[in-house]
């Protein structure tokens, strides 16, 4: 149930919803005029030199839609956003979060996929100058990565948007998996499990017993 094409597509649309309504023109204009845009422009001058150890790390063959850098961004974001180790919550190793994100990403409409891709690149690279980390997001340590997300949650409209989009992709991909439900007592679908009877269609109204509106009165 958890990863049918229908639910993948819906989850993808939901996660990207804040971005879906920003037209490409508005997205670029906002990004370029905003502090995030300034950061990426500045960062862009040396982002090509700002290599990361993850650039040489492999991506699983099963990943079909995420680019190399997107995969590692979400891998790192998942670690930062869902530090479930040592809690009763389901371990990340048991939930295919990245596979879910990959499937969701593959179902986004082309124009939206393009904007999400640009936004993810912006988020990753802007860390070089935004907050003066000097490193891409994927290379930030846990505390710096958390602080980076929090700063974007308070930032310009495009920063707030990307903070929401990345978090929602990760959160939804984890929590839609039924394996994550028992530790929080979530029941999931219940009607068939509880054996609830189907009532069917309501009987046709008995018009003679209903108030008649003026024009209908016969």
């Amino acid at each position: 149930m958890t990863s049918s094409p229908e639910s993948d597509r819906a989850a993808a649309h939901q996660a990207a919803a804040p971005m879906a309504a920003l037209s490409r023109r508005r997205f670029l204009k906002t990004a370029l005029l905003g502090s995030a845009g300034l950061a990426v422009l500045a960062g862009g001058t040396f982002a090509v030199l700002r290599r990361s150890p993850v650039d040489s790390m492999a991506v699983p063959d099963s990943i079909r839609h995420l680019s190399h850098s997107e995969y590692h961004l979400f891998r790192r974001a998942t670690e930062v956003l869902l530090p479930v180790a040592g809690t009763p919550l389901t371990p990340l190793s048991e939930v295919p979060v990245l596979a879910h994100i990959d499937a969701m990403m593959g179902l986004l409409p082309a124009h939206l996929r393009k904007d999400v891709s640009a936004g993810l690149a912006l988020f990753d690279n802007a860390a070089v100058v935004s907050g003066w980390h000097g490193r891409r997001f994927v290379d930030l340590d846990d505390n710096a990565a958390v602080a980076y997300f929090d700063r974007w949650s308070r930032g310009h409209v495009i920063q707030r948007t990307l903070n929401a989009v990345i978090k929602q992709f990760v959160y939804v991909s984890y929590w839609r998996d039924p394996k994550t439900w028992p530790p929080v007592d979530f029941d999931g679908p219940v009607s068939d499990r509880w054996g609830i009877a189907y009532l069917g269609n309501a009987p046709l109204p008995d018009e003679s017993a209903l108030p008649q509106t003026v024009e209908n009165r016969t």
């Binding site: 149930m1 049918s4 229908e6 639910s7 597509r9 819906a10 649309h13 939901q14 919803a17 804040p18 971005m19 879906a20 309504a21 920003l22 930062v80 530090p83 479930v84 809690t87 919550l89 846990d142 958390v146 997300f149 929090d150 949650s153 308070r154 409209v157 707030r160 948007t161 929401a164 978090k167 929602q168 959160y171 939804v172 984890y174 929590w175 994550t180 929080v184 007592d185 979530f186 999931g188 219940v190 009607s191 068939d192 609830i196 009877a197 189907y198 009532l199 069917g200 269609n201 309501a202 009987p203 046709l204 008995d206 018009e207 017993a209 209903l210 108030p211 509106t213 024009e215 209908n216």
Partner: protein
């Protein structure tokens, strides 16, 4: 009335005990459909279904065209994420142009009535008075509309929640309201023998919710109405100032264009909802310059809070009680509705912080409860067809921002009075309140800018306003579109001003009212 093993008969009408006869994309074999009818109705939700039944039982040949799919109740999955894909407009991602207001609407046979929370209010008196005062609508009063309300209330088994339908979240928050001395009441809902699954927003699998899918649509079909799903109307056709029909496309669930469709009909009833109805009219070049304007939507916050004790907000009837203390505009102009939610929604509505704060928050998911705020927003929005896509231009106006903040502060107070440990503010940044003395300081940090607030609209309305003055209304007081004969509007687009309460009963009543006047 006679009953056979699988059919029910009343007079000459008969209907199946379950399911609905619908022509779907998979049933269409040719690449062109040519149909005719006395009346073609665009949309099968609250407005379309009631219109279809009322006109079909008068003997008119009725054809209902629904853009969304036909999903029988038994196929509902009770998985909210999956339901968004199959049952909601734009797969649940319909949003305003700023991207910070989700506009949730059903898009399936039965429309939003399939996925709503069953809450049933009559139109408040002060709203009728406003319509009279500002838009010249003298025909609409509580007394004149009473027969319409009574019909629909009886037909849809609308009744007040009984004690067992007040779930734990509603009981806890009722106590908070009482401590504050606020008026709190059980909702009325259109439901038979609620099974307390908490999955209203994913459709009622066992057909207890009295949505159009199991009431007016099968009743209309029993009187001969034909229903087509997967059928997107692009244009209303007209000649010499008179409607002649519609044209559109049959598109399957994978988005494949299966066939073109053209319907000849002298009467067209627009009931596609407050977003799609003006879009179709604009694409058709019909109506005056008010089509699409005056859009309102009840922007809502879902104000979540963590309690020391387990609440399990996904268990029991989803909507139990509401606070009407502030409903009248003179008292604040907002309503607080106590609502449950599931795990998928919970992880998206609040921003408790990054990393460990979020994990702590979700670990306590079973301890969460929530309040939905509704305000009487001004009609400041506009729906516009942009040539290749629709645009919902709606920003929370500065006139409405104080009401939103007042409703938020009241919701926080109610949570704290009910014993909440921490109330999360619906913002893009992590803001919360743990004691009453901090409410003003924290809430006043919120500003009315795009992407700062997390808002949802469940009630788009008002984009084809009815009224007596063509300068500020698209339709006349009988629901007739100005500028062309034979086109009627019978959905929430008609509402002259926002209702402040859940609009389904008002839409049912208005659709019945308009259907009575179709000539």
């Amino acid at each position: 009335m006679s009953t056979t093993s699988n059919r029910i008969e009343i007079d000459s009408a008969e209907m199946p005990r379950e399911g609905l006869k619908v022509v779907q994309a998979s049933d269409v074999t040719g690449d062109r459909l040519e149909l005719s009818a006395d009346v073609v109705i665009i949309g099968s939700g609250a407005g379309g279904a009631v219109s279809a039944y009322e006109l079909a039982r008068r003997g008119l040949d009725v054809l209902v065209l629904e853009a969304g799919p036909y999903v029988p109740s038994r196929d509902f999955t009770e998985d909210f994420t999956e339901s968004l894909e199959t049952l909601y407009e734009d797969h649940g991602a319909q949003a305003n142009t700023d991207g910070d207001l989700l506009v949730l609407q059903g898009r399936c046979v039965g429309g939003s009535t399939v996925v709503n929370g069953c809450v049933s209010f009559r139109t408040p008196d002060f709203i009728f008075e406003e319509w009279h005062r500002d838009y010249g609508l003298t025909d609409f009063t509580s007394e004149s509309m009473a027969p319409y309300f009574e019909r629909v209330e009886r037909n849809l088994s609308i009744q007040e929640n009984r004690p067992h339908e007040i779930a734990r979240h509603s009981m806890v928050l009722s106590e908070g309201a009482r401590k504050l001395g606020w008026s709190v009441k059980p909702f009325k809902r259109n439901i038979r023998e609620c099974a307390l699954t908490g999955h209203c927003l994913s459709g009622c699998k066992t057909e207890r919710k009295q949505s159009m899918l199991v009431t007016y649509l099968p009743w209309a079909a029993a009187h001969g109405a034909r229903i087509h799903s997967d059928t997107r109307v692009d244009r209303v056709l007209s000649e010499n100032g008179r409607a002649t029909g519609v044209e559109g496309r049959v598109v399957d669930r994978e988005g494949r264009h299966i066939a073109d469709i053209r319907v000849k009909a002298p009467r067209v009833i627009m009931a596609a909802g407050a977003v799609q109805t003006p879009v179709i009219l604009q694409r058709s070049g019909l109506g005056n310059d008010q089509v699409g304007r005056n859009f309102a939507c009840h922007p809502s916050f879902y104000v979540g809070a963590r309690y020391p004790q387990p609440i399990h907000p996904w268990r029991g009837a989803m909507l139990g009680v509401y606070v009407d203390e502030f409903m009248h505009p003179d008292n604040g102009g907002f309503v607080l509705e106590v609502g449950g939610l599931g795990i998928a929604e919970l992880c998206m509505i609040n921003e408790p912080g990054t990393g460990k704060p979020f994990v702590d928050y979700m670990q306590k998911a079973a301890h969460m409860a929530g309040i939905v705020t509704l305000i009487h927003d001004h009609n400041v929005g506009e729906i516009r067809w942009q040539g290749d896509h629709k645009a919902i231009h709606y920003q929370l106006s500065d006139k409405d921002f104080p009401s939103m903040m007042a409703s938020l502060k009241a919701a926080v107070r109610m949570h704290l009075a009910a014993g909440a440990e921490e109330v999360f503010l619906p913002s893009s940044e992590a803001l919360s309140v743990t004691r009453e003395a901090d409410i003003d300081g924290q809430v006043d940090k919120l500003v009315n800018k795009p992407q700062h607030l997390r808002m949802v609209s469940y009630h788009p309305q008002g984009s084809c306003r009815m009224g007596t003055d063509p300068a500020n209304s698209a339709c006349d007081p009988q629901g007739r579109l100005r500028g062309v004969d034979g086109v009627y509007v019978a959905d929430a687009s008609l509402l002259p001003s926002s209702l402040i309460v859940n609009p389904q009963v008002t839409v049912y009543a208005l659709a019945n009212y308009v259907a009575d006047r179709v000539s």
